[in-house]
Amino acid sequence: MSHGAADPTMHPEVQLSTSKGYFLGFAISAFLMLVATFLVTSHSVPPFGLLMVISVCAGIAVIAQIYFLLHIDISEHNIWNTVALVLFIPLFLITIGLTWWMFSQLYLRTMDMSVMSSVTNPAVHASAAPKMSDMPGMGSSPDSAN
């Protein structure tokens, strides 16, 4: 808790950073983003594969950023960075997990799933699934929430 360290560049957190690390982190993230953008715009991979590739790209980018840009490791003087990372994990699970859950429940009740798949894959359009109105418990369309 000392205020003695007048020179902020002397802080251990700052000492850890090197311009090489920053550039590398930046380059890797930028490269992965370009790859993902290219794959999406060129439609060169089937939808499921695309999802997988993009997820992998995103995963690698996250790791690169955590390591090169945020310098998160589990050493003693980086304890608060680690705390922040650990805090982030439940939030990540909550937001993604609960969103996934609520929307899968929503689709169960409101979506004609064949329409959904036809968006990404026109070929499926022909084979119509049961109509929305045939589903048990389906009332009117969801009202525009909030």
């Binding site: 007048a6 939030l91 609520m102 929307f103 429940q105 969801p142 929430a145």
Partner: protein
């Protein structure tokens, strides 16, 4: 271009054209003239009195957390006033436009605002009140108080602090300029998909909304990082986590929320921008887009945000109650745990804003239960405050009145929140004015806590107290206004009046709307009382000077340094022995000790970079709104360049010598000695009294 822009576009001016200036509007045009004249008078006065250098040196380039905090609060109060005028306009439209026989003026069929204009007014009202009034006010208080309460000389990152302020100011400027150049969003403060898509909202309103919010989010995140780092790294010697003042705990929990939740908003906004600028389909009704995904993303941020604004207000109440009950806060540990619990649970409840989406019984039940869980820690807090007052020696001054008012509103807002958290009830009253009344009760808790804090901490910052009579007058007028506006609003909500009506079809609601209009008139009187309060207090300031401990019963560290607080906060950092350090020292008779010896201290330099950067972000926001691409590129490059230059330059800071410090301190003590009721302090040698340590010792013990 990637999207079909309706209307014209030119490479030089983007979508900007003379026709975008509403000079024919009977409300805006006179207002514009008034604003211009006011601005000219203000600038003229500054020039006449030769205050430009003072302004630039002392305020615009400052990195002093107290001055930045004061500027945050000024921005907040100005925007609170603007938002209040919007509220007045909404109430007046609704009381006027009731039933088919109501008259209309200014081109409106009923009332005086066209639906499009009315939509802009309530959208701006909501956005301004939550993000540009409440948030800057709270951030301002955290900025001023947290560093002093933890016994630091400034924030962890003084320059970043200034940057946060000026980016927030840029956001405020952007939404203000939307009054006179183009128009603002008209779809509500949180917007809806897909109506905010370019096809349905072709104007620049939604774009103003995107970039204003984006800037506030950025500014607030930077502020949040700073406060977290300050609390974690800059605490005075001896201040362990268990001795942290309660307001600091509240700020800590609030800023954990800010840091984690604002990115969700920024992502949501970026995706909206992608839709509107690049022709993407994240939130469209077709093409793989999903409109509810927007609502989902928005409230992932939106609910944590409401706790981001209420937690500091809880912290303020937790400071005011003990001081004016002359007792320590009841249940410190449970208070801390409750704050943290609220912060945690606030992440689990966001679906309660769209129960009616129809995600089904499992999802709705889960989120309903999670929402009700928030009531437990909130209840703990309410009881703690009640027990703090129980058998205390209560002083009902104005600050205490505001805090007690906040407590009552919290009960009302909390109870109605619980009702809303029950899906079966929610389906009945969702998007009715009942919801509006609920969250106004809650947001008024914040307003009450803020006015309480203005009274409570004003003497600390400026060295004199505000006038009690006018402060109490304002309180009672404000509370009468609150009752008159919001009791009928709850009732109308139950009767099924939906929110945001620019035309009220049901004539039997007229009398309720009349009462609410009366309420807003009373509110207006309280605003008047506030201006008189400021005037009278400043006029009589010489009579109301205070010493270090303005209330005589204060408990925490900020009351141990002079009032007004010197720019270095503490000449010698205090050593913290107990949780309520000042109360403890008073009890042990060492509250009047003075350091015997002053060491050199190190302070950060002022910088003009922050305000320039703020100006550039404003230009960037404006250019993005109007799609002036060359200006976007220029301002963005300038921002990046400036950032790089500043990073390489850094700030070596400067040294205040011990002798200089001693001179300033002695002057401050002399000034204090002239105040009638202040006691005289005497120096102690070596910073040690008895066997208690009063000051940080640089010589040996560290």
């Amino acid at each position: 271009m990637l999207v079909d822009l309706p209307g014209g576009w030119s490479p030089l001016l983007g979508r900007l054209a003379w026709s975008q200036i509403p000079y024919a509007n009977p409300i805006l045009a006179p207002l514009f003239v008034a604003v211009v004249i006011g601005a000219i008078i203000l600038l003229g006065l500054i020039t006449y009195y030769g205050k430009w250098t003072y302004l630039w040196k002392e305020w615009l380039t400052t990195v002093d957390h107290k001055k930045l905090g004061v500027m945050y609060i000024i921005i907040g109060l100005v925007m609170l006033f603007r938002g209040f005028i919007d509220g007045l306009m909404i109430r007046t439209q609704q009381v006027w436009a009731v039933g088919p026989h109501s008259t209309g003026v200014f081109g409106s069929l009923h009332g005086y605002l066209t639906p499009f204009h009315f939509g802009q007014v309530y959208s701006a009202h909501g956005l301004i009140m939550i993000l540009l009034a409440a948030t800057p006010l709270l951030v301002g208080f955290m900025n001023i108080i947290v560093p002093i309460q933890v016994g630091a000389r400034d924030m962890a990152y003084p320059y970043l602090n200034a940057l946060g302020l000026w980016i927030t100011a840029a956001a405020a400027a952007l939404i203000m300029i939307s009054l006179f150049v183009g128009d603002f969003a008209h779809n509500g403060w949180f917007e809806y998909a897909p109506i905010f898509e370019l096809q349905y909202s072709p104007g620049v309103g939604v774009d103003y909304w995107i970039w204003t919010l984006q800037l506030v989010a950025l500014g607030t995140t930077l502020g949040g990082i700073n406060i977290l780092a300050t609390v974690i790294k800059m605490r005075a010697p001896g201040m362990t986590w268990g001795k942290l003042p309660i307001f600091v705990w509240a700020s800590l929990s609030a800023n954990v929320i800010a840091l984690t939740s604002f990115p969700a908003l920024q992502v949501a906004l970026a995706l909206v921008a992608a839709d509107r600028y690049l022709g993407a389909h994240f939130f469209t009704a077709g093409m793989g887009g999903n409109l509810m995904l927007y609502t989902n993303l928005f409230w992932i941020w939106g609910h944590p945000e409401v706790y981001f604004v209420i937690l500091p207000a809880f912290g303020m109440m937790s400071e005011i109650f003990p001081t004016f009950s002359e007792k320590p806060l009841f249940g410190y540990i449970t208070m801390v745990l409750a704050s943290m619990a609220i912060a945690g649970v606030s992440w689990l409840v966001w679906l309660h804003h769209f129960f009616t989406m129809g995600a089904g019984p499992y999802v709705n039940t889960a989120f309903s239960v999670a929402t009700m869980l928030v009531g437990i820690p909130t209840g703990v807090k309410v009881f703690n405050w009640a027990f703090t007052m129980y058998r205390g020696r209560l002083t009902f001054n104005a600050a205490m009145l505001w805090a007690i008012g906040a407590l009552f509103l919290l009960l009302i807002g909390g109870m109605t929140g619980m009702m809303l958290a029950i899906p079966a009830i929610n389906y009945m009253v969702h998007n009715s004015v009942f919801v509006v009344a609920h969250f106004h009760s809650m947001l008024l808790v914040i307003v009450y806590a803020i006015f309480g804090s203005v009274l409570y901490w004003f003497p600390k910052v400026f060295g004199f107290k505000l006038d009690e009579f006018w402060a109490k007058t304002m309180f009672w007028l404000f509370s009468a206004g609150t009752a008159l506006v919001f009791v009928p609003m709850y009732m109308l909500g139950f009767m099924g009046m939906t929110r945001r009506l620019e035309y009220v079809f049901n004539t039997s609601w007229q009398s309720y709307l009349d009462v609410m209009e009366l309420g807003i008139v009373v509110y207006t009187l309280s605003v008047l009382a506030f201006f008189i309060l400021l005037y009278v207090s400043i006029r009589d300031h010489a009579k109301n000077r205070v010493g270090a401990d303005a209330w005589g019963t204060s408990r925490s560290l900020e009351w141990m340094t002079h009032s007004p607080v010197p720019f270095y906060n503490f000449a010698v950092l205090p050593h913290v022995n107990e949780r309520d350090e000042l109360a403890w020292r008073r009890q042990h008779g060492i509250d009047q000790v003075r350091p015997a010896h002053y060491d050199d201290i190190h302070m950060p330099n002022n910088t003009g970079v922050a305000i320039i950067m703020g100006g550039l972000t404003f230009v960037l926001g404006f250019a993005l709104t109007w799609r002036i691409w060359w200006l976007c590129i220029v301002s963005l490059l300038a921002i990046i360049l400036l950032m790089i230059i500043r990073s390489f330059k850094g700030d070596p800071g400067y040294i205040i010598t011990g002798a200089e410090l001693q001179r300033m301190e002695e002057e401050a003590y002399r000034r204090e000695a002239q105040i009638a009721d202040s006691h005289h302090s005497h120096p102690v040698s070596g910073g040690v009294v008895g066997n208690a340590m009063a000051y940080q010792r640089n010589d040996s013990s560290k």
